[in-house]
């Protein structure tokens, strides 16, 4: 009789342990603060800029006229995240007919949003996105972006041969319909590097993921030119 009881308990443990184990071993969909707060200026909560004006216009808190430094900065050509072995060529990318950002068809390559700030510009978010996977090509350049953690180092190689270092501030998985594109693609505000790929549950009927995985990082002067 205890044999059946033991079997019942054992099987119950298996039934619980299987999903729990999956849950514990999967890469966390988020790390660090929400990406929106990571996009804001460092150490900003007290907002010493101008106490007289309400905080409705965060853009004006940054140096005036800083937005359009772009155009002078060399284009990014390479993206590396050593800890998760991401290493991809960067292409300049624009917009698709449906209004979404172009992601290079070659899943091994990633795209920099060429209409927005460039990595190295003094203000705004430079956006680089790449495939997590593609049906005909398998794993994409950003397959392991979901494994990135706060503090990870990112390197961006520029067309002139120089290298920019970044440090990850936040990672978040966000439902695509709620992606805060205005903030992620902001052309003013603190300088940030924003990496975007797909993630979350896959919807086979749409051949598409439900979510975007977003990683926000800030320039890390200590790692420059390493």
């Amino acid at each position: 009789m205890t044999r059946w009881t033991a079997a019942a308990i054992g099987l119950l443990l298996v039934a619980v342990a299987v999903p729990t184990g999956w849950w514990l071993t999967r890469p966390s969909p988020a790390d660090g603060p929400p990406v929106l707060s990571a996009l804001a200026a460092p150490g900003s909560p007290s907002s010493t800029a101008s106490p007289a004006t309400p905080s409705a216009v965060p853009a004006s808190a940054t140096p005036p006229g800083s937005a359009s430094a772009s155009g002078r900065t060399p284009a990014p050509v390479r993206l590396r995240i050593p800890r998760v072995a991401i290493d991809a060529q960067v292409l300049a990318a624009g917009v698709e007919p449906d209004g979404s950002m172009t992601v290079p068809r070659d899943a091994r390559r990633v795209g920099w949003y060429r209409y927005g700030p460039a990595p190295g510009d003094r203000a705004g978010a430079a956006v680089i996105s790449g495939h997590v996977d593609a049906r005909s090509q398998g794993a994409g350049a950003m397959f392991r972006l979901r494994e990135v953690r706060v503090g990870d180092r990112i390197e961006v190689g520029l067309a002139d041969g120089s290298l920019l270092g970044y440090r990850v501030l936040a990672k978040q998985t966000i439902v695509k319909q709620r992606l805060p594109v205005d903030q992620l693609f902001a052309r003013d505000g603190a300088p940030r590097l924003v990496l975007i790929t797909c993630g979350g549950p896959f919807v086979p009927e749409l051949s598409s993921y439900r979510d975007n995985v977003v990683v926000v990082s800030e320039p890390d002067p200590t790692s420059r030119g390493a």
Binding site: T5, A8, G94, V95, S100, Y115, S129
Partner: protein, 274 residues
């Protein structure tokens, strides 16, 4: 470009609300951005607004930076440089309404018959779709109706003085020229235009066809960009972040087995007691 320095320098106290308020911060309510373009050939001028000097030694082909003007009605007058605001102005426009929250360009130019006039244009500062640029063309020349061609194809047809035409186009460089309407006779150009993404590039045709001094002036209003609608970057489902079906099945089977074993255990206990 040239700054309206005279505006800030002569800012007085009473009597010149225009000048006094012009230096208020960008966030002030009830103002409009106003630029001024001089498109009358051969005439260096001073510009007055409600009797106060707005611009000195303003030369043809010059476009000012935008300044904030308070919402009001203005009498604008243009006099030959140094003459002072007395006598009959060279050009005059009374009751020019500057609303709140608009972006205007006031153009001193020739009408189709060659008479100097002042025309206020409202600049379209609505958002431009990502990847696009807005092109506005304004006919402010003493010339008949024209067609504007972009990369050789007619983009705007039959444009007359003092009217404008506009379109949102893919960002990038184009070659534009102006031809007499319905003909291939080039009046101005060709000129290369860099249509920057998220901006409104405003091109003015000015001068006089009769005097063979037709020219183009360009004004650019940036910051009209909008963000892409989203990012679609995965089609294979290799990192599908939900419990795999196999594991769901395994867990369900174990749960079912657990129930069966439990029932058996209870049955065995009952029979052994009975």
């Amino acid at each position: 470009m040239r700054r309206l320095t005279a505006l800030a320098l002569t800012a007085g106290l009473a009597g010149s609300t225009l000048l006094g308020l012009a230096a208020t911060p960008a966030s002030a309510a009830g103002t409009s951005d106003v630029s001024i373009l001089h498109g009358v050939p051969g005439l260096t001028v001073d510009v007055y607004a409600n009797g106060a000097k707005l611009l000195s030694n303003f030369t043809p082909g010059t476009l000012t930076d935008p300044v904030k003007l308070p919402e009001n009605t203005y009498d604008l007058a243009v006099f030959p440089a140094g003459q002072g605001p007395t006598g009959t102005p060279a050009i005059e426009a009374k009751g020019v309404k500057v609303p709140a929250g608009a972006n205007l360009t006031v153009v001193a130019h020739l009408d189709a018959a060659g008479k100097p006039v002042l025309t206020p244009f409202v600049n379209d500062t609505s958002k431009v779709a990502p990847g696009k640029a807005r092109l506005t063309v304004r006919h402010t020349a003493a010339a008949p109706a024209v067609d504007v061609r972009a990369n050789g194809a007619a983009a705007f047809k039959g444009l007359t003085n003092p009217n404008e035409a506009k379109a949102d186009l893919p960002a990038g460089s184009i070659t534009a020229d102006v031809v007499l309407a319905g003909t291939g006779t080039v009046a101005i150009g060709p000129a290369n235009l860099d249509l920057a993404e998220g901006s409104n590039t405003i091109v003015y045709a000015w001068g006089s066809a009769g005097d063979k001094n037709l020219k183009l002036a360009t004004q650019t209003i940036s910051g009209l960009h909008s963000a892409p609608a989203g990012v679609h970057s995965g089609t294979a489902g290799l990192v599908d972040d939900q419990l795999p079906v196999a594991l769901v099945g395994l867990s369900a089977a174990a749960a079912a087995g657990s129930l069966l074993a439990l029932r058996r255990a209870l049955t065995v206990r009952r029979t052994s007691r009975g």
